[in-house]
């Protein structure tokens, strides 16, 4: 069984949801988990939630990094924080991977400075998974690097292709540049230069991809800089939320609409489950020397349960070794 270190104090709903999700996974034998955080608080969650944890350990951490802390300062000043200690467990080989729903910037820094970059990788990137009509596509970078160079995007495409092949079993994965138009000359300087690099690469590059086509599953991997990727992510969430809110408000106005909504509810719940980030668990941070899964800040128990599953699978599939061989 693989061992996954879980930052029990990271995320808006920590420690309750984090601890609950982690020990559900360990209880099912998905992985052994090491809960890193305030021991008293973790044990309180056990009691309050009437959990009967199995296959677990607790590593006490005196402090934790908050969601809005400056990442660099946090890493420097909070060496005994749950996130830093979880990363250290991976670094020391005491855990095969880690999961955190905490401060993204801080996690990036912890991964970079504690686990370290894989040789030859210029910038690590966060992968997110996107359900579509055909299955699932990946987007990277989803927020690790706000400013990028074309070479970074080329590497994101390479890392994404390896992940798609080795972990998801996609043969010859299709790579597209997420862009505002499909013609080769479209976009800003960054994507235009990336286009040339990808065209010369040995990847299965299919050109520029508009968001509509991305949601139709026309590519397996969409690459973009981390600012754009994070905007796409947040825009998608905001639109879905807005539509739901507007529909709810509209439905309230009419009795037949309320009845209609009730009859539709099972279908809506299925779609919601299909789209829910909790079902996807988290976003792997690729390019660092250790399995590191970033869960959504609003992660609940189910998110963490799935994140532990992803971490265990990535460990099993030797994802780090695969990335290391990329530039050889």
């Amino acid at each position: 069984m693989y061992t996954i270190a879980v930052d029990a104090m990271g995320g808006d709903r920590a420690p309750k949801e984090i601890v609950a999700g982690a020990v559900t996974a360990s209880g099912e034998g998905i992985a052994k988990v090491i809960l890193v955080g305030d021991e008293n608080k973790i044990k309180q969650v056990f009691e309050q939630e009437k959990l009967e944890p199995k296959n677990y350990d607790i590593l006490h951490a005196e402090e934790y990094i908050t969601m809005d802390e400056n990442p660099t300062a946090a890493l420097k000043n909070k060496k005994d924080s749950s996130m830093v200690k979880a990363a250290q467990l991976v670094k020391d080989g005491k855990a095969d991977g880690m999961v955190s729903a905490g401060n993204t910037g801080a996690l990036m820094q912890a991964a970079l400075f504690i686990l370290g970059r894989i040789e030859g990788i210029k910038r690590p990137a966060i992968i997110t998974f996107w359900p579509n009509v055909k299955g699932v596509s990946m987007m990277l970078d989803s927020g690790a690097n706000a400013d990028c160079k074309p070479e970074y995007l080329l590497q994101f495409a390479q890392m994404g292709s390896i992940y798609a092949e080795k972990i998801l079993g996609v043969k010859n994965p299709k790579v597209g540049i997420l862009n505002i138009g499909s013609e080769p000359m479209k976009g800003n300087e960054l994507v235009k230069e990336t286009y040339s690099l990808l065209k010369e690469s040995n990847l299965n590059f299919v050109g520029n991809t508009e968001m509509r086509s991305f949601f139709l599953g026309d590519v397996d991997i969409g690459v973009c800089d981390g600012f754009v990727g994070n905007m796409i992510l947040k825009t998608s969430e905001a639109v879905a939320e807005y539509l739901e809110k507007t529909l709810k408000a509209e439905v309230k106005k009419s009795f037949t609409a309320i009845l209609g909504a009730l009859l539709l509810k099972p279908s809506i719940m299925k779609i919601r489950k299909h789209l829910d980030h909790a079902e996807r668990g988290g976003a792997p941070l690729l390019g660092v020397k250790g399995v590191c899964i970033k869960s959504h800040g609003r992660a609940n128990a189910r998110t963490i349960y799935n994140a532990v599953k992803i971490a265990a699978k990535a460990s099993e599939n030797k994802i780090i070794e695969c990335m290391e061989s990329m530039n050889k």
Copy 2:
């Protein structure tokens, strides 16, 4: 009555929908329209659609610019195109404004080279309107400038503020930078530098705005570079389309769901109308010396009808004069 030149050949559904929308507006006395395009084809639409146009003129144009043509080449080689001739009418004072649903890049170039930039304006920008729970917010730039400098974004904020005040009647409009986080240090280099500029400006700058908060209507104006803006636009459309498609597929699977969907249909249609780009007509291109409205490539008659309305209102409100006084 103001006179609006309409590029009858621009857009996926030209000339039929364009002509129909334009003459509906002119028939209602919203503006006099000059239909610029292939005279025979325009008259064919009159016949086929049994239109009885009033308050209109036709200006024959031998050719037109296609949707995927290279903008620079198109402008150079197609001087007799409908889009170029429409812009020329505005330039020559024969029309008060123009509307086109054609090639965005080409329209930008036509506006820049025929109408010309307003003195002091570094880059023109496209405004889009976003319905939200409180009313409507504006986003700019929505796609005119793929690469931007902080000074451009400052001017977008200034132009947006003027438009909000003078055309929409919003007092002291709130300006936010569309960003991946709300803290001052978040984002890429461009938005960080823009933050400092906006903070020093005399605009009502409220800081960084996440998409969620933008959709809640927390700001009147969201500024961003044209690449990011266009990605936000396309992502929003793609998400809404994807959700609709997924819901339809899910509903088909169950009889109660079909019944529910039927009962909900009026509510959904209301929301769709609320969100439909056709209802918003088009996006004003600000910063050029002439009223120029870009309608969606998929514009239908209703879109063009509303675009003519916006163009007439912008003419009436002396939007160009307002922009000209911005840097004085």
